[in-house]
Amino acid sequence: MPARGRPTSPFLIYRWQIGNSLSILHRVTGAALGVGLIALSYWLVSLAGGPHSYAAATALFASPIGLLFLCGWTFAFWFHLLNGVRHLFWDAGRGFERTQRHASGWFAVAGSIALTLSVWAWVWRHLS
């Protein structure tokens, strides 16, 4: 432990709140979507390869682990999109008030959960 009164790095004393949580989540979902991009490329390549390679790819995505990843990527996509728009507003110098930051943050969380559930409800209804 450092001696008392020594300066402390901000992340050691920073209070956990919605602002930093969503900032971290934005980076985590971005990294996850980077992996999802490789999966998208694989899916497209399998489609170009013919019915056999496409069947192998869809079997992989329809497996329990594949579906888990697809659900994760769906949430990551919607959150990164909604929170990304939030960041674009900030870049334009808008939405910095405390109430606006909190409202838009919770909107991004609730919106991404609702959109993820909607997508999978839609897929389930149409494919079952």
Partner: protein, 129 residues
């Protein structure tokens, strides 16, 4: 009068040279991805099924193939820009950092190039295997 410090001159260190280019490219590609990704998601969701013939027929339509190529290209670029920032933030060893950045660049070009080639192969009607 030079604004460079004596130490900076001795070490041969100048500015990073690219200033806000990376930041700006990240934002512009983000704006482009809003309509492109929404088009992609809603196109997939409105397909009657995800079987080979349906998906292949959909991607053979010129406008679908064109937008899919743009989507993959911009998404690969945007993801590359974001990922190198993560590497630059967390990898402190110069050797590891350079090695990872070069590997990532190769991986992104490989992934994006393969996906675009695949879309073109479907859309331009190469003989069915």
């Amino acid at each position: 009068m030079s604004l460079r410090s004596p130490l900076g001159t001795v070490l041969g260190m100048g500015s990073a040279k690219d200033g806000t280019a990376h930041w700006w490219a990240q934002r512009v590609s983000a704006v482009a991805l809003v309509p492109l990704t929404l088009w992609f998601v809603f196109s997939l969701l409105t397909l009657p099924a995800f079987d080979f013939d349906t998906v292949r027929t959909w991607l053979s339509v010129p406008i679908s193939a064109f937008l899919a190529v743009l989507l993959v290209a911009v998404m690969t670029y945007h993801s590359y820009l974001g990922t190198i920032v993560i590497v630059e933030d967390y990898l402190t060893s110069t050797g590891m950092k350079v090695l990872t950045l070069i590997t990532l660049r190769f991986l992104y070009v490989l992934s994006g190039g393969a996906a675009i080639f695949a879309i073109l192969r479907v859309a331009l009607g190469f003989p069915r295997l």
